[in-house]
Symmetry: C3
Subunit: 467 residues, 3 copies
């Protein structure tokens, strides 16, 4: 018998963690100069003509779009499971809110520590980066969805955020790679981390009967899909350079995503039974173009380049859902609930490669001399060298994800965290108060019923219809 | 027997189309100067003081609002059908993603072709215009919802986008009309195009039993309604002039929409059985004020003018749903699933007329001399002449919609495209893999039941399960 | 027998009101100078270098976020009731659209009347303030949800908007308090107003069987929760000072809300049966941090201060839902359907206190000399004096809410407005046309089934209910 009681474990983790955050924020976190009340003076001393040049106005609309992707996009995308809607939206909410606090600290220590006073200076860009950091944990959540306890999720998030900051530091600061929309840092890292975790947590006798959708749960999931899809141009351009960088990032992503929809729906119809379209592909593979542009969106990829990337990524993603996922489970014992390998893993790798190629192909003619330096980390590298570093960054991210996920998987395997029994997976009843459905007509007690319908009646009581 | 298999037809159209798009984008589409990496130089040469003056920051928040209207707004608005949620959201997704690519090209050739190099230069305004263009196809989709195959929808979209670009060129460039929120170009054109198509595709023996909503499908539809309603101020101001034009467009639309809600709910209660409010009116007629301000929102209509327009448009719209739609079906054989004639057709015509009157009534006193020229196409026309051209534009849009829709209707009538049989309309089963509901208890037939369960049975009838 | 027919009452109120609004807007409302067509001249005369400095671009993205909170956030938050979804979303829609028009006038007369011509000048900030004003009515709506008629709601809104403008005038103009996110003006006022109304309308024999959620209604409610949660940083910063004020307001709210989620989910698990998490707390208490930062968000509270406020507010809120709500109903006869006392009342009071303390603790060192004046109403008060006025403002808002709500409650008690009978509360059937569910198989209790009813059973199998 599994002990899934959360009464002491979950509150203890939440309380300790929140108090620790308060203390660490008190010691370390301060407003950056554009969010500080001294800003009017700073403006004058920096010769900035108007408040509208505060970074807030460059990035806040994109930040809010990213915020919607994290909380509604990822949250509702996972509600496709017919009995796990509370867990999908609710645990997504919990670990995101938990994670963004830790991300502000970790990313602050690595990226925005002010050397003059040892404080982390945060502004709107920090909020976007914290949301990005949490996105990787939500991707990993997708791989283990329905099979872990909230305490396991919080521990996973804690370690994953930490590793994310390290990975990001290596990629951006040490290797000087560009990855504004996070193909490598967010998607590859998050997906392979999650896949490694779910591999370690393999359940050979996993009960799959609740690992299904129903009509309305599929519609709820479309809310998630559409908000992810619509706001992905903001995601990929949110932290790009002001002006043409953000502008181009949005245009490229818009194009790639359009191609992904047409491609994945076409492929779904081609390969599914009777030519009917499968909602799993509509919900997921349509997004592959956004993932695959995470590195190159801000570059001079050109719009037809973006269409090609969207086309390839969604093709790979759809084929992955149809052919690869069953093989991964059978042969590699990877039980990937949401198919994150198809939506984030492979498209993320494509994104890293596309970024490397695009960087290597950069010319002064296309970018202008100063544009070239500005676009690629101000390091005066030859484009081909930059392309090599981009490729190295992809490999580093993949390796850190796999190794980190494996280690964390073993930590999560300790019998301390209240994970559900095999037969209770994908069911909200374990961790949530689920309202009883007041439907007296559904579970009729029958005293004399002909023999052959008894089975039917028993089933009715065991499996009340999910509405 | 209808042959509704999509296996070869849908994938073939998707694949061919997507490859064609890649080629055409490669040949024709480039970034405009504000999205290009040469922007820092351009900025200096154009004497622009800051990156914040990049058009991206003027229009991107509005673009994202429009984007949400297209994909979530239109998509979920149509989920009111209880068995057609996948088709509503999914086909909306497919044809929008398909259409925006073609719209970028068509509108580019007509409006933003750079004469120096023969390339289409795109920026954030192009993305908004592509979304606008697709909106007209989604309006037409509403007229034929549930009665056509995805291949028919893609063919309809292809032709409609093409005609849209022609219509838009005639209205804006030839006639010099203003139509920033598209009362004429989007709503009148899209609605009458769709109505003509559904007239040609008339099904005398259409099975209507699935052409109904249920409790939760009506709630899903409210998601669509509300996102359309909330973001309509962005829609009507997205491509207006910087500064006061956008500002005024948002204010006017906000006011008109508020009046529409109060008016249509009041009228619904007045005219429906027992004074109860009908969700159809709440979902649709509340939006009529936004449609009817599509032309005049950016003009100096004044806020009370906006309230009057919202009041009239939603009155006409609600009355249309109650009285006109049944007559249209009975006498004109127009089967208008979503009532687009009431939401887009008539309010669009009102919008065109309001625009003409407002333009004709413009004075230098109200607009200032330079404001008057800037507001109306810089053509040095007398306001009354401008009003006349606006009226002509309305007629042109109506005519192109009706004629184009009729022709396209006959193309869609060819027995090649896999349309559903009369008895399978409004049912996702035809084109979608629909999850089976695991509810064995729903269909029990009991032969002998004891007395004491009768109470239970009575309750069951009094409290039917809410779904 | 209650007479709940709305046929004449609701249409009459809507029509009269809308016509009155048209007249009053015609007499009083004009565009402010940044939305007026004379803006290009104004820009030159005010020495403004670019259209991007139009207030529209500072505030419009935040306005749209606030707009989503009002219509989708509040609307869907209340759909948790399984049979009151239409009423929740629909009445929310009606009274908001009705209220924003009146708010533009009332707030205009008090705050933006141009003394030179006696006209109200509106711009984007006016739209935000109108939405804010309506938020207080929606909070009160939460207290009486399911127990009143739409006519009662409109009358309540009318009086409450009026009082809101008076309260706001006293707080901001007379007392010189700061309350940019409305802890006092919106939340305390709205909550205690609503609680007083529901106290006066106490129903000793209220039928509670429909005052429950089901699985999908809880998921719909999460749409509301998440949009409120995500966009609260925009709410608390929407009308703050340009630049650092808005920037800081968003950062502080972001932090406080993150702490609230972790805290309330932890507490829910600690205190609920078997350690399971309760969706009521996830839907509501997670938002308490946003409410409690309504006054101090724009101040130099520091991020750890924001975390502490979020932690305390959500603790109080969750404890309130578990322990206080039942006591309020039993001993004070306050039937608070949505628990607004827990989400808006107590956290709002905390917000007022936090604002007073933060204002009193302000120093020139932290704010700079000019920052201090600018942040606190330009009145040259000592910080401690300002703190005192903040505290007085809180008391005034509480008092006006309680007294006003009591008076309005007695008005609503007049037997004229068509309120529902005790046994019909929380049920859409009273005021809405609810679609019949086509589910012949759901409520069958058959003692001896004759041969011909087999057809019924067959139908049941042919048309399984769509959920």
């Amino acid at each position: 018998m599994k002990q899934t009681q959360m009464r002491w474990r979950l509150p203890a983790v939440c309380a300790l963690w929140q108090l620790l955050m308060i203390i660490l924020f008190g010691v370390f976190v301060r407003y950056d100069e554009e969010a500080d009340a001294h800003w009017p003076q700073t403006r004058v001393s920096h010769n900035i003509s108007s408040d509208i040049e505060n970074d807030f106005y460059f990035r806040y609309p994109s930040f809010q779009d990213v915020h919607v992707m994290i909380f509604v996009g990822f949250g509702f995308l996972m509600t496709f499971l017919r009995k796990y809607g509370f867990g999908s939206v609710g645990f997504n909410f919990l670990i995101s809110a938990f994670g963004i606090q830790w991300a502000l600290l970790m990313q602050g220590w690595f990226h925005s520590l002010d050397p003059t006073d040892g404080k982390i200076k945060i502004g709107v860009e920090s909020l976007i980066n914290a949301d990005f950091c949490v996105a990787s944990a939500l991707i990993s959540f997708g791989a283990v969805l329905g099979k872990v306890s909230p305490v396991q999720l919080m521990i996973m998030t804690l370690f994953e955020m930490t590793l994310y900051a390290v990975d990001e530091y290596i990629l951006l600061n040490v290797l000087g790679a560009r990855d504004a929309g996070g193909s490598m840092v967010i998607h590859v890292f998050g997906a392979y981390f999650g896949l490694a975790v779910t591999r370690v947590l393999y359940r050979p006798r996993l009960e799959q009967s609740n690992n299904t959708s129903n009509y309305h749960s599929d519609l709820f999931a479309m809310i998630g899909t559409l908000f992810l899809w619509m706001f992905w141009p903001s995601f990929n351009s949110a932290i790009s350079h002001h002006g043409d960088g953000q502008h181009r990032g949005a245009i490229n992503t818009y194009c790639a995503l359009a191609a992904s929809v047409v491609t994945s729906i076409g492929l779904s119809s081609l390969l599914e039974k009777k030519g009917k379209i499968n909602m799993v592909h509509v919900q997921n593979a349509t997004l592959a173009g956004g993932v695959a542009l995470g590195t190159a969106a801000e570059m001079m990829l050109s719009t037809y380049g973006a269409l090609i990337v969207g086309f390839i990524a969604s093709t790979v993603s759809t084929l992955g859902f149809i052919f690869l996922t069953p093989l991964l489970e059978r042969y590699l014992k990877v039980q990937d609930t949401c198919g994150v390998h198809n939506l984030h893993g492979m498209p993320g790798i494509i994104g890293g490669i596309v970024g490397a190629i695009t960087a290597a192909a950069a010319t002064e003619e296309v970018y202008s001399a100063e544009g070239l330096r500005a676009s690629f980390s101000n390091r005066d590298r030859m484009p081909s060298v930059q392309g090599g570093f981009q490729g190295a960054a992809l490999c580093v991210s993949l390796a850190i994800g796999l190794v980190g996920g494996t280690i964390v998987g073993f930590i999560l395997k300790l019998p301390l965290w209240g994970d559900p029994a095999d037969e209770n997976c994908f069911d909200d009843e374990v961790y949530w108060e689920v309202p009883e459905e007041p439907e007296p007509s559904h579970s009729i007690i029958i005293s004399e019923v002909p023999k052959n319908s008894t089975i039917n009646g028993t089933q009715a009581i065991e499996h009340p219809p999910t509405l």
